[in-house]
Symmetry: D2
Subunit: 292 residues, 4 copies
């Protein structure tokens, strides 16, 4: 990781070399942003690069869009992606699509590329696999101008994530989201400690477990359910094992208990947001809400 | 259906003939209850038959228990069940068990019969398939006295259901339960009309849809989700399609909406109870509880 | 009370005599509605009278407005109101205003009459005393056309209430509202029986008890908290004595208990609406909402 | 404030001088605790002093109890209280009792002193005025042994508060409680910013405003509603001005709005506890609970 001070004090050449891949194979954006030095914050550097992109010609913008690899396509397999692109796509598991997903993806993606003559670009680190497929289906129906704007907006998201990963210094732009929970026992009026909590990602009828943990003495999890990066737009379910909890606490209920595993299903729409999803429960009732 | 008046005024022979199968192949119970005529209510008749059973000798009780078919076993296949037994087992789908269920059932049932030397008896109309398997596993671990008492208790439940189906007249004992719901929109302060509601039965990881309906102008369903008979002890899930509802109502939310399909998972433990399971919802929060 | 059939079959003279005071001292409205006979429902009769008023000239409408007594003013004291007017004003206690209220009322009312040259008309049966004062203050600021429309709208409400009180028959227009409650104990999952419930009317800093009752076995009150007529627009508070209830039930809490008397304060805005205001409570939490 | 290190390293005389008034006019407790030096934490020092008290003879304990001034009595007026006692009683306003309160207090206090032959002792900093009167009434009915134990327990609370105020150093025993709130808007799914929040202390029918504030961008108050010391056991009400908030936000409601000022009334029973009392609200519903 390079420090902002180094970028602020070094040569134009070093600057462009260090930041040349923040925008895919397009060091000219870094070169143009160089003029605005020094940058007091990483966010200011990000803004300057976005401004350089914004001021570019239509042809330059289109060239930038076309410089991106086709998502999940041949290019990805041939190992010709920028290193950062490869990491991002791998993290999501786009290289581990099911056959049905792969077919849907290939069909939609081919139609997209044919229609717009440029690749489908999306900041994969901000989406679940299901959300990427959904976005692809939706955006394939846009008109060309709208979709060019979509591509540039996503490129901006990608650049922000890459910049934060590459440059150290004050005033980093926000790239982290957070999903947290809190369980409260309304029979005792106290935090519910020792509740098993399972976080799942939902994609249609399939669910995959992302995390299993147990609430601590304050009824929270020791770490956020998701944190340390953007949240992925998509569907989730938190399962709270309340039946076993109330049984352990000796709270009388029915047999079988009215509530056992309480599922809370919700979508994340803001990758940089804080989603607090608490459960206020008795053996016979519960409520949840988006907290902060 | 025979009327209570007819039973009250007819001969002992007719009485025993009409009620001979209320307790499986055991007309002697009806015969002994005959002495307590006239019965002001069907419930009083039921009580008198239970009293006759209670006063019987240990041998007679055991004979009654042994008069019952083995649940899902050879006898059931050979068509030797009392007609009422066949109807009850068919309704539950015990003749359509999955292979894994059938194997589990056979193993547990064989162990049960071997241990107690009498068949496993349960009022199947008051249980889901999963609940029957669960009860079988649990009761197989009881001691012999406890389990004899369990069998007689279940025989009483079966007799009550048969009696209510067979005899018309005043004061029937309660055999009906009810599951109802109500959806309220906390943005408008009004009942949520037009919400799709799907009721599922849960058995481990499998779910089967019992009912699909839509809320009416009062936010309720035109008929109870389940009614007209005992509820089956077991696990259920109601799915409320709130995302589409709020979209139709033009209520602004996120994209994707924080809440789309809201699942409420719960158990029914009282077959003759009223379970009211409402949903009080905004696009960002909801609560539910066991109402009445 | 006269029956709709009698009105439908009698003479014009009898018709006008019977309905002459439905609109204050203005039998001409009934006379004109007579032509639309026969009326299948009381609501249809009400509609015909409103249509006759709507079709009247501006002078006739103004004369009708001016035919009304000044609310709480000299005319009221001199006993010159139509009998129905007197009853309605008495029921509200406008003849028992506090000195401060009386002064405020007199000042506002005098300004109103001076500004518009007609009396302030309001269907008092649909408002609390505080709401009448609030409406007077607000409406005094309207322009003349708006206020003439307000007066006619209120006259329509008054006529509907008088018609329903005077004429028997099918299809009466809705004049009744209802306030109900329901208390549920979330420790037991059952209705909370035996909870003391106190209903108060709120006017600024003063509160007057309208009703004290206790919940029945279903957690409801045997009769609606308010019913049998329109609800009065205004502010209310229901106090639920939950501390004593949970103590009686032997539910462990703190000393003093976190919740004792739970106040729910709300406004009624629709006199003919159904306001269901439940309390879903544990010793440490509660929720309420406008139900239906 | 003296530092624990100074106490650990100084002479016995200095030690007793510095801590002689932690227990009212009773330096002997400090003197006996001196032997247990050095104390790693302030809490350990507190424990050692309590142990010295516990090991004292019945006569010494009674003498300590009797060394305390009569609460609100003649001694208080004559200025003969230990300085710390005076401050604690003044903070509560026991010198500003209403006439009725003063009479009730004098009567109960006189009866207490007559019955037990020692003064009524209570850690006033942990109680509201109403709670002190309630405790006096309740404890006056205890037997002598119970009440001697009550007095010693309260002396321990008082000593802890005095010690924390007098001695600096690591590991102070917990003396601070906290009351906080959080308001969430369930129409927007966001924290409710700009909500007026009024905290009142309740004593029977009278209420006194303790604090008026407004929620910040996170829906919380910038500082806890109460903090920086023990909470006073007693009754409170938080009023949330939701009607104005939703109007400012442009959320459509009724006229008048169903909810305007939402009162949440609750008791604090643990002076050193954290009471989090949130409001999850739409214009038609709300819920609250004891959070953490």
């Amino acid at each position: 990781m390079i420090h902002l001070d180094t970028l602020n004090s070094g040569s134009r050449q070093d600057f462009a070399a260090a930041l040349g891949d923040i925008f895919e194979h397009s060091p000219w954006i870094a070169e143009r942003a160089f003029a605005a030095r020094p940058f007091p914050t990483v966010a200011a550097l990000h803004d300057a690069m976005l401004a350089a992109l914004d001021a570019a010609s239509a042809e330059e913008k289109l060239a930038l869009i076309r410089a991106h690899p086709e998502l999940g396509g041949k290019v990805a397999r041939a190992g010709q992606m920028a290193d950062a692109s490869r990491r991002e796509q791998g993290a999501l598991g786009l290289d581990r699509l099911s056959d049905a997903e792969f077919t849907a993806f290939q069909t939609l993606n081919a139609a997209y590329v044919k229609r717009f003559d440029f690749p489908f670009i999306i900041a994969v680190g901000r989406h679940t696999r299901a959300s990427i497929l959904g976005q692809l289906a939706r955006r394939a129906a846009n008109d060309r101008d709208t979709e060019r704007a979509s591509a540039l907006r996503e490129i901006g998201h990608i650049a922000r994530l890459r910049l934060v990963a590459a440059v150290d210094g004050p005033g980093k732009p926000k790239t982290d989201g957070r999903l947290s929970t809190h369980v409260l026992n309304m029979v005792s009026g106290k935090p519910a400690a020792g509740v098993r909590v399972v976080l799942k990602e939902i994609a249609g009828d399939t669910q995959s477990v992302l995390r299993e943990t147990v609430t601590n003495a304050d009824g929270r999890t020791d770490e956020p359910l998701i944190g340390g990066g953007p949240l992925r737009t998509g569907w989730y379910e938190i399962e709270f094992h309340m039946g076993k909890y109330f049984a352990q606490e000796g709270v009388p209920t029915a047999d079988p208990p009215f509530l056992d595993v309480v599922p809370i299903r919700f979508a994340i729409a803001e990758p940089e947001g804080h989603y607090h999803v608490p459960l206020i429960a008795s053996p016979w009732s519960y409520s949840t809400y988006r907290g902060s």
